[in-house]
């Protein structure tokens, strides 16, 4: 029989945080560093997200882009697409926001990924959450095998973390490849959708774990390629996005069939969603 539980903590009450850095990255994306005003660390793991609140405007779920190994605060990258994101773009250091979280599942950096070769496949802003895992892995470099990072954007102007990516590539046993859908007069790199990069990488499917994050349309095609490479479905992890209001499994918006993206995700093992019809 049910009983009524009572809790004192209001799960909807944001905690104040200070804007430490707010810097434009591209035309549409802005980089932020926040610090909880209480000084307490956020306590997240790579792949998790938090709800960012701007009084009067609303709340939006935003991935935490920095690794927990980065201790002076936490970082986010926000694309200006609507009300909260636009209001965030108007923020400057010294301003405050509200934070709830961290919420959701994490990339299994201490589980399935440990000791394995890693293949990260990111489209556009999908690099943002994955960056927390990349940084975490590179921070504990010895614990993992080969690291390959594939990154695709629509155009050169939309590339994210350009300087950091150079440092990733400079790490031992680490490859960073990128491509753009459409180049411009300065672009000398690869042109084509992200799947065109995949034949260029050689992996040992038996010891590789793949992580995918990007726009909805990308998953199907990348998974087909991974399948061709022989990487098992249970060795693939995806991070998914849905409409989300509460972040705590109540509002009903983020359901993918029976799964809640805010609780069961955003990071899913592909075998757990492969048969879930609305997932990918």
């Amino acid at each position: 029989m049910s009983q009524i539980l009572t809790a004192e903590k209001d799960i909807y009450l944001p905690e104040p945080a200070d804007v430490v850095r707010a810097e434009p990255m591209t035309k549409m994306e802005m980089f932020f560093e926040f610090k909880l005003s209480s000084g307490r660390p956020l306590g997240h793991m790579p792949g998790q997200f938090a709800e960012v609140a701007i009084p009067g405007i609303g709340e939006a779920p935003i991935s935490i882009s920095s690794s927990p190994t980065y201790r002076s605060g936490f970082q986010m990258v926000v694309r200006n697409v609507g009300n909260v994101s636009a209001a965030m773009h108007r923020l400057a250091p010294g301003k405050k926001v509200g934070i709830r979280g961290p919420f959701g599942t994490q990339f299994p950096v201490d589980g399935a990924m440990k000791g394995q070769d890693l293949l990260f496949v990111c489209g556009g802003i999908g690099l943002v959450p994955v960056r927390s895992a990349i940084d975490y892995v590179l921070h504990h470099r010895k614990d993992y095998g080969r690291v390959t990072i594939l990154f695709g954007t629509k155009s050169p102007a939309e590339r994210l973390f350009v300087e950091e990516a150079k440092q990733w590539a400079a790490q031992p046993d680490t490859t960073f490849l990128e491509t753009v859908d459409r180049g411009d007069e300065h672009w000398k790199g690869s042109v084509g959708v992200i799947t065109t990069l995949m034949p260029k990488v050689k992996v040992d499917p038996a010891r590789t774990v793949a992580v995918i994050c990007g726009p909805p349309i990308m998953y199907k095609f990348v998974i087909l390629e991974l399948d061709k490479m022989g990487i098992g479905k249970d060795r693939i992890f995806v991070s998914l996005e849905r409409h989300m209001k509460c972040g705590v499994g109540k509002c009903g918006h983020c359901q993918i069939n029976g799964l809640y993206v805010c609780q069961d995700g955003p990071v899913f093992r592909y075998t757990d969603v492969a048969e879930v019809r609305e997932a990918i």
């Binding site: 009067g56 405007i57 609507g82 009300n83 636009a86 209001a87 108007r90």
Partner: protein, 251 residues
């Protein structure tokens, strides 16, 4: 930051929407804390040619009015259509079911041909110029007007419902008008009025216009179930959605 300069204009309409602004009573002062009215014939004596936001009420029913509206558009950074007449032509569109000679003769008899009684098929503002924002309703809901104004001042896109009136009707705990065999347009009409009419025991006649994807075909199919005819449904759809495409599709 300077307060945006706002001018309010009206074309053919009953001016009920402007009245709703007046009906904000002391909140009008709050409105004035956010914007500076520079022209508003119904309430103040000033008139001006320079403004940032033009709020336009009423529909276009005379060729000469199109020119005036274009002029307003060219002067305003933002053009807001206020109320059903402006957003979709309103009841004035009923006229379009007749020829213009016919309506002139019907109302003015043999004098109907006098030049100052000239009239043309009714148009909503966006049939003449680009409209940046629509404030729905006949009349508008002044709480929504106030909300929209605050959103704009905050730099926020206001959330204008894109779901049917039934949602608000259920939230208010009403008994559905269909239970009394009345034709209610709630299921195809855009919410945002707090289901005012069904809450007062009257059917929704669609004064906020259709939702983006109205299932008019379904409305047609249910008529028989309630002992009504297509004509009954069309007659009601005509009030505020006359000559709009989706109505036309109801054969």
């Amino acid at each position: 930051m300077d307060k945006p300069r706002v001018a309010i204009f009206d074309f053919a309409c009953c001016e009920g929407c402007q009245l709703q602004i007046v009906n904000l009573e002391e909140e009008l002062l709050d409105v004035l804390s956010l914007v500076q009215p520079v022209e508003w014939r119904e309430a103040i004596s000033d008139q001006s040619d320079t403004y940032d936001i033009a709020i336009v009420e009423g529909s276009i029913t005379r060729p000469g009015d199109e020119e005036k509206l274009r002029q307003i558009r060219s002067r305003a950074k933002v053009l807001v259509a206020l109320g059903a007449c402006a957003t979709m032509g309103g009841v004035n569109k009923l006229k379009n079911n007749f020829t213009m000679e016919d309506v002139r003769r019907e109302v003015y008899g043999k004098d109907g041909s006098m030049p100052h009684l000239d009239t043309a098929p009714t148009k909503a503002l966006d049939e003449v110029v680009k409209v940046d924002l629509k404030i729905h309703g006949c009349p508008i809901n002044n709480k929504e007007f106030a909300y929209i104004l605050r959103c704009l001042a905050l730099g926020k896109t206001p959330a204008i419902p894109n779901y049917p009136v039934c949602v608000e009707c259920k939230m208010r705990g009403n008994v559905c008008r269909y239970e009394y065999n009345e034709i209610c347009l709630g299921p195809v009409t855009r919410a945002g009025c707090d289901a005012k009419c069904p809450s007062a025991g009257f059917w929704c006649f669609g004064c906020r216009g259709y939702v983006d994807d109205p299932n008019v075909q379904a409305a047609r199919e249910v008529m028989e179930h309630y002992g009504k005819t297509m004509e009954d449904l069309k007659g009601r759809l005509l009030l505020f959605n006359s000559k709009q495409e989706a109505t036309e599709n109801v054969k």
